[in-house]
Amino acid sequence: MLETTENRNVEIMLDNVGMTYDAADGKKVQALTNVTMDIHKGEFISLLGPSGCGKTTLLRIIADLLQPTSGKVLVSGDSPREARLKRKYAMVFQSATLYDWRTVIKNVELPLEITHESKSERRQRAIKMLDLVGLSEFSDHYPRQLSGGMQQRVGIARALMLQPEILLMDEPFSALDEFTREKLHVDLLKIWRKTNKTIIFVTHNISESVFLSDKVCVLSPHPGRLSAVIDIDLPRPRHMEIRDTPEFTALVSKVRNSFEGV
């Protein structure tokens, strides 16, 4: 039924991953305990949960921004560090994190400057990516001249520049208004279908996670843990109208009811 979930190639393997902080008062805080799961190639996974459940911690561990205190992470056989150095990931943050002093197209070209790609190649690919996110005509604008939604689309275009296998998105749409967000959901799914990336999407919005994902991983706090993995078997491609169907509503309640201790 879904090509993406039938593809059994494991891209990211999490084995008993745990993270313990030392709080200021000397107590240990368990941000994450015993997370074990496989993420397959081309899958769209959401990490869903309230604040303090460890969803962002988990994403940052995969991104090699944090080292887990226990357990193991493998990204197609590599450690997160090796995967980062091979530039298998791209990150999209909550704020677009564009550089004020660069025009839109120069912002998008940035990652290829880091990898010393030729100027013409940089420009060519940037034009393609801006086209993909529908911002071609804004390439010479500065970020400050764009709306929040447009800035975030530039961020996505920039993330795709290194042709990563995995897109790590940390609450990318949470600062946007509902109308812009719903439009970007549809855009993101289109981009995902065209590029076939594996996407890990952190959010605290239940309906967002259901609309976008193949699988919703529900995390619960105190201690942060994976409390449920729910398959979203809604047909693709998905349109905005799917939110009004009884199947969608049923999945939303199923996800909501799987939370523990909130």
Binding site: L65, R84, L85, P111, I114, R144, Q145, L146
Partner: protein, 273 residues
Amino acid sequence: MKIVRKITGSKLFFTLLWIAALIIIWEVFAYQVEQTKRTPENVLPHLSGVVDSITSDKKINGSQTAFQMVMENAGATLSRAAIGYVIGIALGFILALVMSLSGIVEKIVFPYLMLIQIIPILGMAPIINAITGDIAASRIVIAAILTFYPVAANTLAGFKAVKRESHELMYSYSANKFQLYTKMMIPSCIPYFFTGLKISAPMAITASILVDTLQGGVGLGCLLSQSLKGAMTRYVFWDIVFFSAIIGILSFYLIGIIEKLLCPYKKLEQKGR
């Protein structure tokens, strides 16, 4: 009517209004002084008198008009101030960079950087003059020291103000240190750097003039002291006062204009976010 309202509503209009008010107050007092003092120009001359002294072609020391004299001495003072300013900027920026690269250096140097701001460097001008033994050199040294602190402190603040996500973005690209600084850290601290430049430009000029007053020779400060002592017409003193005030203020705005030219993105209005 619309145009009139637009003009009277602008900030510039009120600034000009204030300047006009200041001029009127000045002239009223100048008139008062004129009625009561034997040598009014020693206390408060009419502004017209000051303008006259600048534009008149009367030679006041045998070979030069007041204007030529002020300009020649200004050249000696301001060129040293400028050299010191540039040296101070370079040193301040490099130190901020090194402090940002190395936590150990930051820990060692930062308290002393604070100290430079707190202790009265200008009060040390005479001793620096004694150490260097050369007035031109001490102008440069003091202007550099005074420039150094605001540039270093503001640039460092700029490096520290970089958002965590910006760092993580570069980290996710596995950018090296050089790329991290040239592509991200340095461009993002430029506005802070310019804040430092704006603060220190008038300070460098002040310092340079002050050093002049410590010793004879050429320089605005020397000329100012001589005129105060009565060695030449008192109008030279007023010319210098107005000239240095205007140069001080202009230096501040000049740096602001350079910043706007270098950072065209700064003046753009932020869209609703």
